[in-house]
């Protein structure tokens, strides 16, 4: 395996709240290789955004190390982090909130260049034109304001801004969740094209497992602040090892009549990260839990099929999509 571009070890983040301490990240380790797309999937409150912020060194960690391009960045001052930010960028879900409505698109795209003192005015203008072309926006978009664009076009602007400094990696928090499905596919394909051309790596946060399967090389499944399964996308969908992954697979609505057979519906809500259950955090909702699951905490271990899984009884539940995807469906 290639040296990881980004590597995090044992990240722990807690927040104080009126109801008690929130264990938002409870010992998360992950690695992303150059040019790879890794996705992080899980329900709301599982700690996905906190993980993104922690990797960007934008939230206080209780412990854990973060390496980027072979250097420890977890303890750098904001000033020392600035050059790192050039190569590690972030995109957010809401293309409305993340773009300054008072600036033209040109000013928005030039802003990171100005902040890092890159190029003179003419060079920046050229770079803005390149970026617009790269994300499929017309040249005259430069003089318009964010409010004059649709949601999908605004997300293209946000992507262009993230690309301005030619980063080696983008962390994208729910980048297409707010978009209609037809536009979602446009943006996903755009991200893929950019990767093919530039070799950029992505860490994509999403809650839609079908989308994650579509775009990822590897998938990380989170539950209550922990990674419970990790594996190659095809393996996670065909041979999921953790019962929560199976539940997510069978809960994802599908137009495919095959997928609607034999499904597992979990009972109850995910527990609060304030009152984490003892033992396996999933055991109160787990369809195959035994006595041991309430006592001991399963750690993330190598799984029989080459990924990692945190379950005492891995691979027991079958995937509703156990069969390989057939070639094109002919109608």
């Amino acid at each position: 395996m290639t040296e990881p571009l980004l590597e995090a070890t044992d990240l722990r983040v807690t927040f104080g709240s009126a109801a008690g301490r929130v264990h938002a990240l409870d010992g998360v380790s992950l690695a992303v290789s150059p040019g790879e797309t890794v996705s992080l999937v899980g329900e709301s409150g599982s700690g996905k955004s906190t993980l993104a912020m922690a990797l960007m060194c934008a939230v206080r960690r209780d412990s854990g190390a973060i390496r980027f391009e072979d250097a420890e960045i977890g303890r750098l001052s904001p000033k020392a982090l600035k050059p790192i930010r050039r190569r590690l960028q972030m995109i957010f879900q809401d293309p409305y909130a993340s773009l300054d409505p008072r600036l033209t698109v040109e000013a928005i795209l030039a802003e990171p260049l100005v902040a890092h003192a890159i190029g003179d005015r003419a060079e920046r203008r050229t770079r803005v034109a390149e970026l617009l072309e790269q994300v499929g926006l017309p040249p005259d978009a430069a003089q318009r304001f964010p409010s004059q664009f649709s949601g999908g076009q605004r997300q293209r602007i946000a992507i262009a801004r993230a690309l301005a400094l030619r980063p080696r990696m983008i962390i994208a928090d729910e980048p297409v969740s707010a978009l209609d499905v037809s536009i979602q596919a446009q943006v996903v394909n755009l991200l893929r094209d950019i990767q093919a051309k530039t070799g950029i790596a992505y860490l994509v946060i999403a809650h839609d497992l079908a989308l994650v399967y579509e775009i990822s090389d590897r998938i990380l499944v989170m539950y209550l602040g922990r990674i419970v399964e990790e594996g190659r996308a095809e393996a996670v969908v065909r041979q999921p090892q953790h019962p929560y992954t199976v539940a997510l697979l069978s809960a994802t609505p599908t137009t495919d009549p095959q997928g609607r057979r034999q499904r597992i519906v979990l009972r109850g809500d995910p527990p609060s990260p304030i009152n984490r259950p003892g033992g396996c955090p999933f055991h109160p909702r787990c369809p195959i839990a035994r006595d041991r699951c309430a006592e001991d905490v399963p750690s993330l271990q190598p799984s029989p099929i080459g990924g990692r899984v945190a379950c005492f009884y891995p691979g027991e539940l079958p995937s509703p999509y156990a069969k390989e995807a057939s070639a094109t469906i002919i109608r």
Partner: protein
């Protein structure tokens, strides 16, 4: 079991709304839909296509300054379009129940769950307090709420999103309405909770009533609905049995939605987006509403196609349907 009684008939429903810059735009254009007792009709389309406008019209909840609504909405055969606000208050919660995306907008935050349910029963069924309380407890039980006695005293904000949506469904069903309108009822929920609520809707929505499930997600409609109507820019473009529409779509937009959505049973790396952007309120709208994004569009598409029967119980509005229409005589040949 789907009965034959039509509980809701929407005929030529047209809604014109004022544009912020002056002028008007058509949010719904001559929509015709029927819902039979025991059936859930899925209304599917992208954001801004007019789905919520239709649900508000059926619930008598429009009221945008300058709106113009024409056509007919028949609830159990009775035309309800243009009823007075007080007549609507009698119908809502009794003849027609509603479930919205955000239960907080449908549940009064300063009232306990129990008092909301009891009040609705007392208002519409004229039962005494003790009997109403029994009905309310049964309603909570029937939507799978654990320890209903304790929940009666809770306030909406004390419940999780999934439980709140169950309460909203209990409230929608409590007076045994003939029609239920559910507008994106699971959109705000996590996948595993969405699956629970879809199970509940499947089991309970069509018990005695008929319903419309509004969603932007074809997969959600496929899980719950027997029939499907696809809407684009205020216009129904395809309609039919769900399984048939999904397996043999005739309209390029329906096919486009299917191709754009990721699926586990297809090879990866093949999402086919629909080009262009979804329509905006001010957009020009002569001819086929989909033509600016349609790969099959030609001069013919400058005129609006009719919603024609392309196969038995299957309608599509396209000059160039994706497959040859079945002749009504084909079976006999």
């Amino acid at each position: 079991m789907t009965g034959t009684e039509t509980v809701l008939a929407i005929e030529d429903l047209t809604v014109d709304l004022p544009l912020s810059g002056g002028g008007r735009f058509r949010a719904l254009d001559r929509v015709n839909l029927q819902v039979r007792r025991g059936e859930i009709l899925g209304l599917v389309g992208e954001s801004g296509s007019g789905k919520s406008m239709l649900s508000l019209a059926v619930l008598g909840l429009t009221g945008i300054a300058g709106e113009r609504i024409t056509g007919r909405i028949a609830l159990l055969g009775e035309d309800v379009l243009g009823l007075s606000p007080s007549a609507w208050r009698r119908l809502r919660g009794s003849a027609v129940g509603m479930v919205f995306q955000d239960p907080m907008t449908g549940l009064n935050p300063v009232r306990s769950i129990g008092s909301l349910l009891v009040e609705s029963v007392r208002r519409h069924q004229r039962l005494d307090r003790a009997t109403s309380k029994t009905v309310a407890l049964d309603a909570l039980r029937s939507v799978g709420i654990p320890s209903p006695e304790a929940r009666m005293k809770a306030y909406p904000h004390q419940l999780s999103g999934g439980l709140r949506q169950r309460v909203m469904i209990a409230l929608a069903l409590i007076n045994r309405p003939s029609v239920i309108i559910a507008d994106e009822p699971t959109t705000a929920l996590d996948a595993t909770i969405q699956a629970q609520i879809l199970d509940l809707l499947r089991a309970r929505l069509a018990d005695r009533a008929g319903g419309i499930l509004i969603t932007h997600d074809l997969g959600v409609a496929a899980e719950v609905c027997q029939r499907l109507a696809v809407i684009y820019q205020g216009t129904i473009v395809e309609q039919g049995q769900t399984a048939e529409v999904l397996a043999w779509p005739y309209h390029p937009y329906t096919q486009g939605l299917l191709d754009a959505a990721p699926r586990f049973d297809r090879p990866r790396g093949r999402l086919v987006p629909i080009p262009g952007q979804p329509p905006q309120p001010g957009d020009r709208r002569e001819g086929c509403p989909f033509r600016s994004r349609c790969a099959h569009a030609d001069e013919a598409c400058a005129a609006l196609p009719v919603l024609a029967e392309v196969a038995p119980d299957h309608l599509a509005r396209c000059w160039h349907p994706l497959r040859a229409a079945t002749s009504p005589f084909e079976d006999a040949v």
